[in-house]
């Protein structure tokens, strides 16, 4: 589904990603953990070209993003993204937030898009908020809308960039619950998070990144209970 080969990325003189390779199978849930500054956010942003790629390849569903002939907008319709700060469109209602891209990018009819949006809103438990504006929602509600908005494009992969890091603690659970359900439904997911409980419970595989490298990857149980590398051990001892 996703294949990353020798990905490198620098910001100026600062090399943030130093040779990352990774394969993700369909329906797999990969959780990326690591200290801040390890490059995990940059990594996930490279997967839909929100960051340019210096060298290496990112192949999504058979399409190489680094190939100049690849239409990046088309690839992005298949890759849903959820941001730390939600990034809902404040001038649109919740329903319009969700239908905007399907109508304008996919060319779905308005009525059809709205019907679908209502189904998705019900799925994330916010059916009654359809005509509200984002500013009237709590952080947890905003993030659930953001997930519904990404799902409305019927993506093949979902990327989550620290989806609960900007939330008040009591709202983290409701967002993780939606993500769990999504994983159960068979969505391919890559999740950058500090929620170790989520990583252990939902992840098929956990990747530990540090200083621009993938240091270690394994099944959650093995990685959390018996880390192999010193840096993994040091990190886990601080967060667990």
């Amino acid at each position: 589904m996703i294949s990353v080969k020798n990905l490198k990325k620098s910001f100026g003189d600062n090399e943030v990603l130093k040779d990352i390779s990774l394969d993700v199978s369909p329906q797999e849930v990969v959780v990326v953990i690591g200290p801040s500054g390890s490059g995990k956010s940059t990594f996930i942003r490279c997967l839909n070209m929100l960051e340019t790629i210096d060298s290496g390849h990112v192949i999504i569903d058979g399409k190489d993003l680094t190939d100049k002939k690849t239409n990046i907008n088309e690839v992005r319709t298949d890759v849903g993204m959820v941001f730390q700060h939600f990034n809902l469109f404040p001038h649109k209602t919740i329903l319009e937030n969700i239908t905007l891209a399907p109508i304008n990018v996919r060319g779905v009819k308005k009525a059809e898009a709205e019907e679908k949006a209502r189904v998705l809103l019900a799925k994330v438990g916010l059916a009654e908020k359809a005509s509200a504006y984002p500013d009237s929602l709590s952080g947890g509600q905003k993030q659930r809308v953001a997930i519904a908005r990404a799902l409305a494009m019927e993506p093949k992969v979902m990327l989550f960039d620290e989806p609960t890091s900007a939330l008040d603690p009591e709202m983290v659970g409701e967002v993780l619950e939606v993500m769990k359900q999504l994983a159960k439904d068979g969505m391919t997911m890559i999740v950058v998070t500090h929620e170790m409980g989520f990583a252990r419970e939902v992840g098929d595989r956990v990747i530990f990144m540090d200083n621009g490298y993938v240091v270690e990857q394994n099944e959650p149980k093995a990685l959390f209970d018996a880390p192999q590398h010193e840096r993994t051990k040091a990190f886990l001892s601080k967060v667990l």
Partner: protein
């Protein structure tokens, strides 16, 4: 000091005529300036520096030289190349539009760049092109933020249209100067003209405040 109201009543039909020209010229200048300004703002934000260059030069020239000089060059130098004799009202509209466009472009650019970059990222991550993201997500939000500075620009433009009197465009100030010349009086014509400008700019201020309030309640934000 005797204040001769009869001068004002004598000239009132001309002042009203001039008022119409002032309003027309300002409105035309605002509209053309908005369209041109948006175009220049988008051009100046291009990622290609060679595309940006001409827009930068344009803005620097029109903001960096006096409007009076621009009007004189346009009226006596450029417009005569296309029409003869050159029409001062047309020259005035062209000058005001081109000048306002430079300022409006910077207002738009500031407004667009004040929108959180997460908005563009979210739009692009949903598969929108840059143009779609601009049109559907960024510009509608930026538009609301630029209303107050645009209001200022409209007021400036309205007042600067008085420079048209130098080109003998028959706007409000032109008739003020005509009255002053005919009667060799200062206070009556100039105070009247000033008062009319004041009424115009104050009305415009209220109008812009109203628009601002309307837009902010529309969104329940």
């Amino acid at each position: 000091m005797d204040f001769r109201f009869d001068i004002i009543t004598d000239y009132m039909p001309f002042f009203l005529q001039g008022l119409k020209v002032t309003l027309g010229v300002s409105l035309a200048g605002v509209l053309a300036g908005l369209v041109l300004g948006l175009f220049i703002a988008l051009g100046k934000m291009s990622t290609n520096r060679w595309v940006r260059l001409p827009f930068n030069i344009y803005i620097n020239i029109f903001r960096g030289t006096p409007l009076l000089v621009q009007l004189l060059i346009i009226h006596f130098g450029i417009v005569p190349l296309f029409m003869s004799p050159s029409n001062p009202v047309i020259s005035l509209v062209i000058g005001l539009s081109l000048n306002a466009a430079a300022y409006i472009a910077e207002i738009f650019r500031a407004g667009i760049q004040s929108i959180d970059k997460g908005q563009m990222e979210a739009a692009r991550s949903l598969g929108m092109t840059r143009v779609q993201a601009m049109k559907l997500v960024i510009l509608p939000q930026a538009f609301k933020r630029v209303i107050p500075p645009l209001g200022n620009e409209f007021i400036v433009l309205l007042k600067e249209s008085s420079l048209g009197s130098v080109l003998a465009a028959p706007e409000l100030m032109y008739w003020g100067r005509a009255a002053a010349g005919q009667y060799i009086r200062v206070w009556e014509p100039y105070l009247t003209v000033a008062l009319i400008y004041l009424v115009l700019t104050l009305s415009l201020t209220y109008l812009m405040n109203y628009v601002e309030r309307r837009l902010s309640t529309d969104d329940k934000r």
